[in-house]
Symmetry: C2
Subunit: 389 residues, 2 copies
């Protein structure tokens, strides 16, 4: 029996790469549910090819387009965020791949956790925003999260077979992004299209900008805390421009384990689907002829302040990571729209973290409120950080 998969965020970067993986193992995986936010056209094409039982489009205004495109296909079509939350809990789903981008991934992921599903988690925001709550829900429901992010997949892989063994620290590697060696003066002038060119990884726009600004690494630090139950001090970041070592666990006996590979998201996606097994694949293999030199150095928190902000948010806890994440979503959009400069993203995030109401132990409801509040505050104050030309 193939494992039956609900793929949330089917049309995004992780979604399409997940389908690329799945189609190579038709006997092992069957896509049962596909959802997308608003890309009805691609979702319809994917549904024609993968023949899921159900497709859902989050944005209801695209429902008719999707329905029409699939009129000759035997598939249930629905729309709206509530519908997405419902389909992930269906009894015919074995694995939920949570690959939506941003805060919108939170609710369906929580629904899947409550339903006790195995979750291949690519949506960072779920744990960043609501890590403490998620940990509790997982304990209650018996759900299991297998991370898809290459860094967390690496840590997860290094921890297999090490149950209970004491950990000193973990090190998340950061490519440093396209602006690794830029001075502050150069960063001032960075254009959106430059930020969208990642040297190693193929990813969606939001994640690519976050990688360039190191906010992505900041979100990963927070995610790691909740995935692996660590203190902020146990989570280190090192810049490793080649992206060959994806992350490391430093055990208390002096031994370090690393997971490595060519930078290709399909490798951690495949692992999340097959865990605890591994399937032979034709994905690119590590070749030391192509990576004869690996380098490592500390990140510069003066030029890339987002990482410092993320550690601050992690130490504050409560709704602070949610505030930071919401402000960053606004900041990235403002940067991509050419409204604010690259460095002003950190300014806007920091400002929003200072101005939004802090609560040490928020429930899900207050997190939703926080998300809206922080986005409002960030949006309203973009003008304060308008790019100097």
């Amino acid at each position: 029996m193939p494992k039956r998969i609900a793929l949330l965020g089917s049309t995004g970067s992780i979604g399409t790469q997940t389908l690329n993986v799945i189609e190579k193992y038709p006997d092992d995986f069957k896509v049962e549910v596909m959802t997308a936010g608003s890309n009805a056209k691609l979702l319809a094409q994917q549904a024609v090819k993968f023949k899921p039982g159900t497709v859902v489009i989050g944005n209801k205004s695209h429902y008719q387009t999707l329905k029409d495109a699939l009129k000759d296909v035997p598939v249930r079509v629905s729309a709206g965020d509530d519908a997405i939350e419902q389909v992930v809990t269906a009894s015919n789903i074995d694995i939920v791949v949570a690959a939506m981008v941003g805060y919108s991934g939170l609710k369906p992921t929580i629904a899947a956790i409550r339903a006790g599903k195995k979750i291949a988690l690519a949506n960072k925001e779920t744990l960043v925003v609501a890590g403490e709550i998620i940990r509790k829900l997982i304990k209650e429901s018996g759900s299991r999260i297998i991370p898809v992010d290459s860094e967390h997949s690496a840590i997860f892989q290094c921890l297999t077979g090490e149950s209970g063994n004491p950990i000193d620290t973990i090190t998340l590697t950061a490519s440093g992004g396209p602006f690794l060696n830029f001075t502050r003066e150069m960063l001032e002038k960075v254009k959106p299209h430059e930020a969208l060119k990642h040297p190693n990884w193929e990813m969606g726009n939001k994640v690519t900008v976050d990688s360039a600004s190191l906010m992505n690494k900041g979100l990963e630090v927070i995610e790691a805390k909740w995935l692996f139950d660590l203190t902020p001090d146990q989570i280190k970041v090192i810049v490793h421009p080649q992206s060959i070592i994806h992350s490391m666990v430093h055990f208390a006996d002096g031994s370090t384990k690393a997971q490595m590979g060519m930078p290709d998201m399909r490798i951690p996606i495949l692992y999340a689907l097959t865990y605890p097994d591994r399937f032979p694949s034709d994905l690119p293999k590590l070749d030391f002829k192509k990576c004869q030199t690996l380098t490592f150095f500390d990140p510069d928190l003066e030029r890339f302040r987002n990482l410092a902000l993320a550690y601050h948010a992690l130490k504050m806890g409560g709704n602070m990571p949610c505030i930071m994440n919401a402000a960053n979503e606004v900041a990235v959009n403002a940067f991509l729209a050419g409204k604010i400069g690259f460095l002003q993203m950190s300014d806007l995030v920091e400002y929003t973290m200072e101005k939004t109401e802090y609560l040490a132990s928020p429930g899900l409801g207050f997190l939703e409120t926080t998300n809206n509040m922080a986005k409002g505050i960030a949006s309203d104050n973009i003008k304060k950080f308008i790019k100097k030309r």
Copy 2:
């Protein structure tokens, strides 16, 4: 209850480092048996400190010296290789640390395997010479080998929690030794004291020369075959001068796992004693400030022919690895005695491999004969390879 340990080769490099590890965990480990080949003086000192129940000196001519040195200590003293074989099988032994150097480690290790003991194996020659037989004996007795060599410990650690998962290849890293960048002309003139200076690791003389000549890596390739049930083509060697990545497993899904750490043998020794657990330690921790750049390149089999000879011996199988190992023991002694040059070690080994009777499926008896024959042939022909001055 502390685990009770028989330490074979107590006075050697691995032996003394094992004691250094054990003394830090007095509640967890108790040295019950200590053996040495001929260093009665150090063995006596160690016995006074660690208070084992039994000490054995292999070379019977040192028995009285040892007995006298320990006359006021409540410890059983015996001598001879047979006595070593006996003590490792005693019911009060939980772990046998096999840390003798060279062929002499074979018999007591086999005795321990037959007795179903857990073995921390530092003696390469056991598996190099008799790998096929050892594998069978382990299946029959339920014994378990935990490798101590840093490379094999690395592979072993990378395989925890990966039971049954398909492996493409493994890569053993080689520091390249002190002569990594020497031309053949420079290698011609190398002196024994230069070969005894390893850039990264502290080891005994035999292993240090083997490291400089890459024979150590050749022996490790053969050892890896038997430890991890691989084909010769699945075992790769890469030169990694910093000795930070100790070895890697490349899984068939495209993911690579590596074990890393500062080059300190006490880390894999501790792991072999505590496996499957890990104990917190004060051993040196990986510090990327000290290793900002890691490099990797293919070994040069023209300059370091021993590695090619080892692959040849592995592919031939039978008693060929035994022949190679015996010839190499003679060659290293001849080099250290200043009789032959550095490059002539490979010549002597190759000559002996050609001249000694080959048998595809030798029993233990014939392996013993092979070891003696090959040593005889190598010794008798040293003069053919006398260093040109």
